[in-house]
Subunit: 367 residues, 2 copies
DNA sequence: TACCGCATAGAAAGCGCTTGCTACGGCTGT
DNA sequence: ACAGCCGTAGCAAGCGCTTTCTATGCGGTA
C-alpha cells in the first residue's frame, strides 16, 4: 500500500541504507547512484515516514512556536517571521528536503495549555521550541515551566524565548530576547508628562503577566519620577499614593473590549483624566472608541497612547501614539537562534529596544 | 538517560504491553494495576516517545492547520477556534492524555510552501489537515494540490476545507466549508448602489485567488444588474464595459499598504469616484488613510467598505461598513469536523452565509 | 467435582528508518 | 609489484512502541 524505503531501494537496485543516505545527504554517495535513487523516489512518489525516521535518528524536524493569542497580530508577526527563518524557501517539488516543520501552538494565555503543548512537543522530540510573549508570573507555574524546559533542553531541544523575560535560572535556554517593556512604558509616559498631562489613566493587561507588569512599572516609574502620585514618603503618604495609583489603573485582557470597558470605568472614577495609556494598541483602539462614545475628542479632550505599533495603529484616526517593538526582526532572530544559524547573545540574554512613536493621538491637555 | 516504556514497566512490575494499554486506555486493565502503572509514570516522569508510538500505531496525533497569513486576524481567528476544538482543555498536569497537537502552518500565500507543508504533514502521518482561506487558481497548482490531498486522504488523514471552495473533485475531502463571498460582495455593492453611488472603485485582492475572484464577481454582478458598466450587449458595448470595469479595479495583496496605494491609483484614474470597496477590512483601512491623506472626508466625500468584519473594523473612524463572516464559528466547526466530532454536511459541502454590516463609513454620495 | 468462559497479563513480532561497522575495488606511493 | 587507502555500498542491529496471539487464574454452572 504505502511505499517504503525498501521499495525505493529495490527499484533503484541498491540497499535501503544507500537510499537513506541519499535522502539525508550526510554520507558520500556516487553521483550515478544518487541519481538512480532519486529517480526511483520520484517514480514511486515516495514520502519519508517521519515517525520512523525520528525514532531511528532520535530527533525530529518539528519546531514549535508557542503564542498566547494567535488572533493577535502581535504574535502573528513574530511567529510568521520565525517561520520564514525556519521553514526555508520550499522548492514546491513536494520533496521538502531538509525542511523543518515550523508550527505554531496557541496557548490562549492559559498556563495549563502552555504546559500541555510543551509536553506534546517533548513527546515529538521537537528540534526546537520558541516561546513568545509575556509569561505568567504564578510561582507554581514558573517552577513547572522551568522544570519542563530543563527537560526539553536535556533531550536536545533548543529553547528560545522571544519577547519574554529570561527564566530565573536561565541555563535551560539557548537565548532570551526580551523587549524593553519597562523602558518603553516609561518613555511613553514621560512624553505625556512633557506635554503637560498630570492625571493619566492606565488600562493595564491581565495581572500576573510579565508584559503587563513591566509596562505598568515603566509608567509608574515615570509618574513617580515626576513627583506624581506624590513624593510623600511618610507611611500615610505612601498609602495615599498607592491608592491613587490603583484608582487610575484598571486591569483586563489584551483585547479591544477590555480597553473599552476599562476606559469607561476610568472615566467614571476620575472624570478629570486628560490621557489614557493602554497596555497595547488593540486595547487603545477600544479605549478610543469609549472616549468617542462619551462624546469626547481625541486628542483635544483626552490623549490616547498604545504599545506595540501594530500595522493598524498608523491608520487609526487620529494616528496612534505608541511604542514600536521590532516584532518581525525579533521573531526572525528567534527563528535563527532556534535553528542554530545565529550565535546567542552573550549570556544568552538580549534586550530589544522599544522606540517611542509620537503621532496624532496625543497632544497637550486643554488648559 | 531517557525513560522508556520498559523502565516504567519494570518499576510497576508489569510488562511493557500493560503500560502501553494503561496509557492508551483501550484495553481492560485492572484498577489496581492501572494505578501502579500510573504511579510509576509519575515517579519516573515518563513522557511517551511520539515517533515510536506513531510508527508502531501508524497514526499520529498531529493536526495541521494551513493559513495564508498568520499575522492576519482573519486566519488567526479561524485557526484559534479550530485549535480550541482540537486541543481539548488540557489538564495542566503535563500528562497530556488523549490530546491532539493542533499546529498552524503559515504558507504566506505561496503555493510552493503550501505543498511543502502538506508533504511535511504527510510525512508525520498527520491525523487531519485543515486548509483555510482562499486557494490559488493556477491549474497546475490545483492539480498538484488535489493529488496531494488525495494521497493524504488515502493515508487516513482527514482533510477539511475552511473558508475555501470545494475541490473540483472533492472526494478526497471530509468537508468543505465555503464562505458566501460572492453573495456578500453582491449585497455590499447593492447597498452602495441603493445609497445612490454609481462610480465605485474596487480594490481587489491578489489575482488568481478564489476569494478575490468571488468577491469581485459579486461586486460586478451587482453593478451589471444595476445596468452600470452599461447593458450594451453588442460587441463594442461589451468591450467598453470591460474597459470600464478594469479601469475601476486595482489588484494587490491583502494588506493595508496595498489598499493605500491602490486607492491613490483609483483616485488618479477616476477622480469622480464616490465609493471605494476594498477586498477586505485591512485593505479598507489603508484605503481610508489614502482618502484622508488626499484631504477627502469619509463618508461625506467618499464612502468606504470592507469585508470580513474583523474586530477592529467597528473601531475605525467612522466605523467600517463591511460584510461579516462568522470566522470563529467556521473555524470551530472545521476543528470538530477534523476530529470526527461532527458529521459532515450533506455532500460534504456547506456554504456559510455572509452578513452585510452597515456602519458609518458609507453614506449617500454628495449631489 | 469438573468444565467453560471471562477477565487480565505477558511474549514477541514487527512498524520503517538510521548508522556503526564491515567489505570490496581500484589507486597511489614506494 | 605490493601494501595501504580512499571512496562507496551493504549488513544488521536496534530505536521505543503497539498489538495479536497466547497463557493463566478465577468464578460460575451443570
Amino acid at each position: 500500500m504505502t511505499v517504503t524505503l525498501a521499495d525505493v531501494a529495490a527499484r533503484a537496485r541498491v540497499s535501503p541504507a544507500t537510499v537513506s543516505r541519499v535522502l539525508n545527504g550526510n554520507y558520500p554517495v556516487a553521483a550515478s547512484t544518487r541519481e538512480r535513487v532519486l529517480r526511483a523516489v520520484d517514480d514511486l512518489d515516495y514520502v519519508l515516514n517521519g515517525p520512523a525516521s525520528s525514532l531511528a535518528a532520535a530527533t525530529s524536524d518539528l519546531v514549535g512556536i508557542l503564542v498566547n493569542d494567535i488572533a493577535d497580530p502581535f504574535f502573528g508577526i513574530m511567529a510568521g517571521a520565525a517561520q520564514t527563518e525556519i521553514g526555508g524557501p520550499g522548492d514546491g517539488s513536494g520533496r521538502a528536503g531538509g525542511e523543518k516543520l515550523a508550527v505554531v501552538c496557541n496557548t490562549g494565555g492559559s498556563p495549563a495549555r502552555e504546559l500541555t503543548y510543551l509536553t506534546l512537543l517533548q513527546r515529538q522530540r521537537a528540534a526546537a521550541v520558541i516561546l513568545t510573549g509575556g509569561a505568567v508570573e504564578d510561582p507554581a507555574h514558573q517552577a513547572a515551566m522551568a522544570a519542563k524546559l530543563a527537560k526539553l533542553a536535556d533531550a536536545g531541544t533548543r529553547v528560545v524565548l522571544c519577547g519574554r523575560p529570561p527564566l530565573p535560572e536561565g541555563e535551560a535556554v539557548v537565548a532570551a530576547l526580551a523587549f524593553d517593556n519597562r523602558g518603553g512604558g516609561r518613555r511613553l509616559t514621560e512624553h505625556l508628562l512633557t506635554l503637560g498631562h498630570r492625571r493619566i489613566g492606565y488600562v493595564a493587561g491581565p495581572v500576573e503577566r510579565t508584559t503587563t507588569r513591566h509596562r505598568l512599572e515603566g509608567h509608574r516609574d515615570a509618574m513617580a519620577a515626576a513627583g506624581l502620585y506624590g513624593d510623600d514618603t511618610t507611611t500615610e503618604g505612601r498609602l495615599a499614593n498607592a491608592r491613587d495609583e490603583d484608582r487610575l489603573t484598571v486591569h483586563g485582557p489584551y483585547d479591544r473590549r477590555s480597553g473599552y470597558d476599562a476606559t469607561l470605568e476610568l472615566l467614571r472614577r476620575e472624570p478629570e483624566v486628560t490621557a489614557i495609556v493602554a497596555a497595547n494598541d488593540t486595547v487603545a483602539l477600544g479605549a478610543s472608541a469609549a472616549i468617542r462614545d462619551r462624546g469626547l475628542r481625541i486628542p483635544e479632550d483626552i490623549s490616547v497612547a498604545g504599545f506595540d505599533d501594530l500595522p493598524f495603529s498608523v491608520d487609526a484616526v487620529p494616528a496612534l501614539t505608541t511604542v514600536r517593538l521590532p516584532l518581525f526582526e525579533a521573531g526572525a532572530r528567534a527563528g535563527r537562534l532556534a535553528m542554530g544559524k545565529e550565535t546567542p547573545p552573550p549570556g544568552g540574554i538580549a534586550t530589544i529596544a522599544a522606540e517611542l512613536m509620537v503621532r496624532g493621538s496625543t497632544a497637550p491637555p486643554r488648559k
